[in-house]
């Protein structure tokens, strides 16, 4: 894949939160936002806290609705508009095309770390044993001790949970990856591993959108900065 193949084309996006139970207060996060992400590039969303970086990322994932604009995503050889697609379509995009590493792992009671990591492959119909093997390799690479694999991550440290989350996000070679501060709670060694994993992903042609507060990581993985400026607060 060459780097001129667009994977995400977001045009004229506008997002406003309306807080109905707080006097109908309206909070505009962005408007008229355009963003194109090509295969093989890692676009770093850049801007101060509260500028709307995570909101944009969640909108790309179909987790937040946008009020205006379109978000076209290249999925199975066709364009899907994430801002209007039906739930089933969005789930199918998430299954095969777009991965998302959130800031915090949402642990499920009783589900072991290894199974959490392997799940995206199993959902895609891959063999359970092979999926668990691959999950183990990733957890090893991210230095999650093997004795933790069979435990539910609710009691893990923040860094351990984050690495489980990263392993889950990287297990399926998604054509598009959204990374919301994946290195925030990691030590230097693990940060270097994650940096390498991101570079490998862009190397194989993945289109990545990321938020990285760590300047070193940003410089190493980012191919381009995308500035998000906070909007004037509505009166």
């Amino acid at each position: 894949m060459n780097s001129d193949t667009p994977m995400i084309i977001a045009e004229d996006l506008g997002k406003t939160f309306v807080l109905h139970n707080q006097g109908g207060q309206e909070i505009s996060v962005f408007e008229g936002l355009d963003l194109t992400v090509n295969a093989g590039e890692c676009v770093v969303l850049h801007g101060p806290s509260g500028a709307g970086k995570s909101t944009l990322m969640r909108a790309l994932y179909g987790n937040y609705l946008v009020g205006e604009g379109t978000i076209r995503v290249s999925h199975a050889g066709a364009w899907v508009d994430m801002s209007r697609a039906k739930p089933q379509k969005i789930l199918s995009v998430r299954k095969d095309t777009m991965g998302y590493v959130s800031q915090f792992l949402r642990a499920i009671p009783r589900v072991a770390a290894l199974d959490i990591v392997a799940e995206p492959l199993i959902v895609r119909g891959e063999d359970e044993t092979a999926a668990c093997e691959r999950a183990g390799e990733l957890l090893n690479r991210l230095r999650v001790p093997e004795k933790l694999w069979s435990l539910a991550p609710a009691t893990f440290s923040g860094g351990e949970q984050q690495r489980v989350n990263i392993a889950r996000g990287f297990i399926s070679d998604y054509p598009i990856l959204l990374l919301d501060e994946p290195t925030a709670s990691l030590d230097a060694q693990n940060r270097a591993t994650v940096t390498a994993m991101i570079q490998e992903a862009t190397g194989r042609g993945a289109a990545i959108v990321g938020i990285f507060h760590d300047e070193d990581v940003r410089n190493q993985v980012g191919t381009r900065l995308f500035e998000i400026k906070p909007m004037e607060k509505a009166a």
């Binding site: 139970n21 969640r58 987790n63 609705l65 089933q88 789930l91 009671p109 009783r110 589900v111 959902v123």
Partner: protein
């Protein structure tokens, strides 16, 4: 989730109780393999709707069309009573909030599971018992208790037995009314994990009524939020919970206590 015909198509369904609206103007399609959550507070019409969809209650208006195995899409309220009953015993499951409403308390655990198999024509005692045993294992009930009465089981075990009883005939569609209501949290976690696994592995479609948004997030692909008998918002589960649009949904989501 990619076939052309929805498994269940609900069109403008409404149910009145005299002057009072139970639920009204409800329309949606449920696709094969999809789990729909219906959330809302007590009295919002969730259970009335579920009862209409599962043919427990005849709606005052609207259609409920089910894609039957033999004859394709049919309005369930235009079927004969016996056709409808066969559907409920074979292709559908109904998990009630109170397991005692969904189980036969006077017969053994094994018989509770085996009974539904017999209803679809199984006759060989050994096979039925073996199948019942397999299902007790799947729902994590000690097979040594196969001959015990469900009344000697804990609430969590009864609920798991009810699930086994419903799933033994390989239904395509399961209705669940507050499946984890009334269970303490550790038992609830186990049941949720089990349900989640079964739904994924068997590719079931399900309609799950719950007032617990965490349960909804874990089980449902898609959510419908009800208030006063109306659907006020629907969409992808995480979108509805993380970016609720309607005032009532915003209130629901912001009312959750964090432990």
């Amino acid at each position: 989730m990619s076939q052309d015909t929805p498994l269940l198509s609900v069109q403008n369904v409404g149910k009145d109780y005299g002057e009072t609206i139970g639920c009204t103007d409800v329309s949606f399609d449920l696709w094969p393999g999809e789990v729909l959550g219906i959330v809302g507070e007590s009295g919002s019409g969730k259970t009335t709707l579920l009862n209409c969809l599962s043919a427990q209650l005849e709606p005052s208006r609207g259609k409920v069309i089910y894609d039957t195995r033999a004859e394709g899409p049919r309005n369930i309220f235009e079927m004969t009573e016996s056709e409808r009953r066969l559907l409920m015993r074979t292709d559908w499951g109904l998990v009630r909030q109170n397991p005692r409403d969904g189980l036969r308390l006077g017969v053994s655990a094994g018989a509770n599971v085996g009974e539904r198999l017999m209803a679809v024509g199984a006759r060989h005692y050994g096979d039925i018992r073996q199948e019942a045993c397999d299902w007790l294992e799947k729902v994590e009930i000690d097979t040594g208790r196969i001959d015990h009465l469900p009344s000697t089981f804990s609430g969590g075990m009864q609920q798991r037995l009810q699930i086994a009883r419903n799933l033994v005939t390989n239904p395509r569609l399961v209705f669940m009314d507050e499946p984890t209501g009334g269970l303490d949290v550790s038992v609830q976690a186990r049941l949720l994990d089990l349900l989640r696994g079964l739904v994924t592995r068997l590719g079931l479609s399900a309609v799950v009524v719950t007032h617990d948004l965490a349960v909804a997030r874990l089980l449902a692909h898609r959510l419908m939020v009800m208030k006063g008998g109306h659907v006020v918002e629907q969409g992808l589960t995480d979108q509805v919970l993380d970016d609720p649009q309607h005032a009532y949904t915003q209130l629901l989501v912001s009312s959750i206590l964090q432990p």
